[in-house]
């Protein structure tokens, strides 16, 4: 807190001096409010903690894949995959704002870790990873889009939990994320618990805000509209750290060489591909493709491509049959 304040004071003083030196000597009291991202909440409104989770057994257990997996272009008749095959493209709901996982490159194409996962599914159905249509959606739109059948699949850094199982079905875990902490490389902080009394940034209404506020060390949560706004505030010395899923933090760290991830993840966020509850054959098929990707090195290749090697062991599947 002290160091953040001192920094802020130093920055304001520097700006003040700059402002003063530009004006005649008799002009005093020139001051300037440092710019902040639009819609910032400082301190953040804390979203209510999730209600007692609906019981669903082990949330990361999914449906067992069929053996053998149908070959590309030859889906069992009457299956959800056959309908998709007949349509000619797989429709996938994705994020377009999470760097490295789902975002638009400078040519406007959606790329990232999640996007490659979705393309692998298209390849398994059609034999061609380009038979795919991406629909850019926000986090809040993920479940409605599945329930309204606007998309076949959602690949959007989506945490598997029992509340969501009550509405949609999930594949097996394809990435184990966890809430972690990103700080400037000069920071002495070692994790969320050494940030007591200091400002820590996360997106408005996210569970990350709730998690930050719940820490015993009492960091001060600051909320913004978009994750990149957190990095802007960090670069402007307006927050001491950013805390959310390590996946998002890796995406932010890739945009600034002067930041670092510190400490161990303090929550567990297993990511799964989400599908409509009525299409259990598709869930089984997707799990089969994930099995192949884990064993044939494709998962590791995607990890290498987006997150940099060496790739860890892919998360193992759990089935509830």
């Amino acid at each position: 807190m002290k160091s953040a304040r001192a920094l802020l004071v130093a920055v304001s003083a520097a700006v003040l001096l700059a402002a003063c030196s530009a004006t005649p000597a008799d002009v005093t009291g020139g001051s300037v409010a440092a710019p902040v991202p639009n819609g910032v909440q400082d301190p953040a409104k804390i979203p209510p903690a999730a209600t007692a989770a609906t019981a669903c057994g082990d949330p990361v257990a999914s449906l067992r894949p069929p053996a053998p997996l149908p070959a590309p272009g030859h889906m069992p008749s009457g299956s959800t995959m056959a309908t998709i095959l007949a349509r000619g493209r797989l429709i996938v709901g994705v994020d377009q704002t999470t760097y490295l996982f789902g975002y638009r490159d400078s040519h406007g194409a959606i790329v990232g870790f999640d996007i490659d996962m979705a393309r692998a599914m298209a390849k398994a159905i059609f034999g061609d990873p380009s038979k795919i249509q991406f629909v850019a959606i926000t986090s809040a739109e993920r479940i409605p889009y599945l329930l309204e059948k606007k998309v076949d699949l959602v690949a959007d850094t989506m945490t598997i939990n029992c509340d969501r199982w009550a509405q949609v079905d999930f594949s097996t875990v394809y990435y184990n994320a966890g809430q972690s902490v990103l700080v400037p490389s000069t920071s002495k902080a070692t994790g969320i618990d050494s940030l007591g009394g200091q400002k820590v940034c996360a997106a408005i209404g996210s569970t990350s805000i709730t998690n930050i506020a719940a820490r015993k060390s009492h960091p001060i949560p600051v909320a913004v509209n978009d994750w990149t706004d957190c990095l802007v505030m960090l670069q402007q010395n307006q927050v001491a750290a950013i805390s959310t899923d390590d996946t998002i933090l890796r995406g932010l760290a890739a945009q600034d060489p002067d930041v670092k991830l510190v400490g161990q993840p303090f929550t567990s966020e297993p990511y799964g591909l989400a599908m409509a509850p009525s299409s259990s054959d598709l869930v089984r098929f997707v799990n089969g493709v994930l099995e192949q990707m884990r064993s044939n090195g494709q998962w590791a290749a995607i990890y290498d491509r987006w997150l940099g090697g060496p790739a860890p062991t892919p998360p193992g599947p759990k089935y509830k049959d």
């Binding site: 402002a19 409010a33 710019p35 991202p37 639009n38 760097y99 926000t138």
Partner: protein
């Protein structure tokens, strides 16, 4: 008799001074309207407009990807240059208001944020869009707010000068009337006593005072009428149209920023809708501008603006439909594309309509202010000269009378 002479002489002198000084002051105020507060209001307008245009241009440039189109870059730089020049002119006028200070301090911060955004965008980093959104917030929350205050202040100064310049000459005219009455009464008294019909000195004085009163009254009436027209047909129209244009520019920026934010910030789209209501709603600015009794040319421009605005609004709706279908590149193409059916061309039509209207109204303002100034031309010198003649007439008239007495 001598006492009467002194009283009349002093009152006539006071009338002369009031008429001359009043004429000079009035001329100064009307001159101010023409050459100072009027032009400064225009400077404040162009500052306001340039800043809004910078906001919307930069948002469009951003949508084009890493390498922005050169035309948009030079338009942005032109906007910043215009804004800086206007800011310098306004600062040089001597006022040091908080609004001016916010602008001088805030403009470099804004441009700094924009350049950071460009550098990051050029590297393909989503961080660039975050800096752009922050720049836009700085523009809207700090700069445009201050520019609006500045514009309002300049308009208030203009109204002040105009009211002073067009005010009724409350000192000169009553004084003149008293002098005239005293002169007539003095002549009547003389006629009764001396049986002489006319005293040439006093007759000359009466005539010149009457002419001076007439001149002051007519120049006031004509000048005030022109000043009134300069407001009603000029600066008031300009004001409504300038506000309409700023709203349109802001809506244009909203349209682009909605796409830059990529669904994670819906505030830009609701702001777009608010701007459209402000423009075309039943009590909207454009209906205000069209419903007032205005010149036919101006009305045509405003009506064209309403039609063109509706076309643009339809494009915006279609663009959202495209985006909602997941076709982001299609939506971007419609927001920044080169075709006549794309947003830039549709917006440009609205902007041109409003620009023509503003030009007409600004021209009307300048013409009326000029006529008001001509109505006052020569007033001070003329009244001064007339009163010298009147004073001489009074002196001669009374001296003759006194001489006859002896």
């Amino acid at each position: 008799m001598t006492a009467n002479l002194v009283v009349l002489f002093v009152l006539a002198l006071a009338f002369g001074i009031a008429g001359t000084v009043g004429g000079i002051q009035r001329g100064d105020l009307v001159g101010n309207v023409r050459t100072n507060s009027g032009p400064l209001t225009v400077q404040a307008q162009s500052l306001y407009r340039a800043l809004s245009d910078a906001d919307s241009t930069e948002a469009s440039a951003f949508l084009s990807g890493g390498a922005e189109p050169p035309a948009l870059r030079s338009r942005y730089l032109g906007d910043i240059a215009t804004a800086s020049a206007a800011l310098t002119a306004l600062s040089a006028s001597g006022s040091d208001t908080p609004a001016l200070r916010s602008l001088s301090v805030g403009l470099p911060i804004y441009t700094g944020l924009v350049e950071t955004a460009r550098a990051d965008n050029r590297l393909g980093l989503p961080l660039g869009a975050a800096y752009l959104r922050e720049a836009s917030a700085q523009m809207r929350n700090v700069l445009l707010t201050a520019a609006k205050t500045l514009y309002r202040d300049e308009r208030a100064q203009l109204a002040n000068d105009r009211n002073g310049g067009g005010g009724f000459p409350w000192i000169a005219i009553p004084l003149g009337a008293i002098v005239l009455i005293l002169l007539i009464r003095a002549q009547r008294a003389m006629t009764r006593r001396t049986k002489r019909i006319l005293n040439p000195g006093l007759v000359a004085a009466t005539l010149t005072v009457a002419i001076a009163i007439g001149w002051i009254t007519v120049s006031w009436a004509v000048g005030a009428e022109h000043l009134h027209s300069s407001r009603a047909d000029g600066s008031d129209r300009v004001n409504v149209l300038v506000n309409a244009r700023i709203d349109a520019l802001r809506a244009r920026a909203d349209e682009a920023l909605t796409l830059v934010a990529r669904g994670n910030d819906v505030s830009f789209d609701s702001d777009f809708k608010a701007m459209m209501t402000d423009l075309t709603g039943d009590r909207g600015l454009l209906h205000q501008a069209a419903s007032a009794p205005v010149a036919a040319g101006l009305r045509a421009d405003v009506e064209a603006a309403i039609t063109d605005l509706k076309a643009w609004q339809a494009e915006n709706t279609a663009m959202h439909a495209t985006n909602d279908k997941g076709d982001y590149p299609g939506a971007v193409a419609s927001a920044i594309g080169p075709n006549a059916t794309d947003a830039p061309a549709l917006f440009a039509k609205v902007d041109d309509d409003l620009d023509r209207g503003i030009l007409v109204a600004n021209g009307e303002f300048a013409a009326q202010a000029k006529d008001a100034a001509s109505a006052l031309r020569g007033l001070a010198i003329g009244v001064g000269a007339l009163i010298i003649v009147a004073l001489a007439g009074i002196t001669v008239g009374f001296q003759r009378r006194i001489a006859e007495y002896r």
